[in-house]
Amino acid sequence: MTASRVGLRVRAVSHAFADLHVLDDVSFDVPAGEVTVLVGPSGCGKSTLLGIAGGLLRPDSGRVEIEGQAAADCLNPLTYVFQDFALLPWRSVAGNISLVLEGKGIAKATRAARIAEVLETTNLSAFSHAWPKQLSGGMRQRVGIARALAVRPAVLLMDEPLSALDAQTRDLLLDEFAGLIAARGMTVVYVTHNLAEAVRLGHNVVVLSRRPGRVRDIVRIDAPLDARKLDDPALLATEARLWSLIRADAAEADREVLHA
């Protein structure tokens, strides 16, 4: 696959759901070929921001601009990976991947080849005929990744893709994500509440304040993804720094939720 050379510019985005002011004047860049992680306390608007970035939600004000050109074989420039996998239970693994390729003018043989390729990439070849209900959470998320890769995305938008999984599966998939993203030089926007994930995957970690979410800081991590280890002292120090930026807001947000 041609490496994506597409980035995003988020500019002065504000949004409210009725009386609930969720995002306030949020601006940051998503550089091409890098992973931008959004972190912040519960309810700070991380997923809302991802929805706006991907065109699933219109912001009340502000805009998101795409920079660069998607590869010729890119079928869906801004492609999501969902927290709850969003797989169709009535379609097999291969059927779920096929869904996003159907009706896009791709020959049947090409479609089959592309499905086989992404199944191979995500180690799912042996499960192509399985129903989603027959798979573990980790395997289902692999299907979600395979489905996203099948459309050759320019930007991958990942909404807490590991939060529904147990800790061991999360660590395994985190390493797989890092390997995949590093090998392909993909542009990724990754939402998480888990700071260990943020420092493992992020080149830029955008720290949002509690609701209404504002950019509190942007932390840069230069170490190559495939060289990072979760117990690296430098990464642990960055994780501690992120926590120090979020902690007070997280405590406030927790009380807000309790009183809501």
Binding site: G54, L56, L75, N76, L78, T79, Y80, F82, D84, A86, L88, P89, W90, R91, L99, V100, E102, G103, W131, K133, R147, V151
Partner: protein, 259 residues
Amino acid sequence: MREVVLRAKGFAPRDIPFAGAATLVGVLLGWQTLASLGWISTKFLPAPLSIIQALLTLGRSGELWLHLAASLPRLAWGWAAGTVAGLVVGLLLGLFTLARAPGMAIVSALFPIPKIALVPLFIIWFGIGEGSKVITLAFGVFFPTVINTLAGVDGVPRGLIRMGQSFSLSRAAILAKIVLPGALPAILAGFRITTSTAIILLVAAEMIGAEKGIGAFVLSAGNLYDTDNLMAGIVVLSLIGLTVSWVLGRLEAWLLAWR
């Protein structure tokens, strides 16, 4: 020292193999025995063997097929018309904001009307022929189909529709590949209700305004105190219901294999 006593007992009923069939056979045997001993008046409740005998006689004489030939097309056309119309309207109400509120107001207002009460009105409107009977069935089938289809569409997880939109699927593709399959379990569950409703309305419509048909036959046998034939007619209706239920069961097993 005492062993910990298991407290999580009960509340987990299981199926016992063949128990259902054995129960039915037992009831029939008991019924036949009581009738043979004279403990049940066969004038009011004929014995199972007499009912079978009546069924065989009706079959041999051709009268049974004559009535079935009148009833089954009414049932098929009435159910199919009500189902198609109900699916279309249910989908419109489920998918379009502008259709939902006005449509639901009409459906909610008309749904509670006992459809049997409308048979005389439909006879006035559409005549004593097939039209009034088919319309009665269709009308009765239409409302539960609308409500089940709407519930099915509403029950499709919004996250799946968002997924389709996020992959830039067309509206038609989202409808055909996400909404309809997602609503199918509720729609098929509704078929079980509407087929029963259709059989009830078939009998009612034939009792009010038909010369041929199982409903008309049952009414005629009742008027003549011919309880053997009356019960034979009821058995035929029951068999129609069981057959339809079996077909729907196979359809569900085929279409919903993923469950």
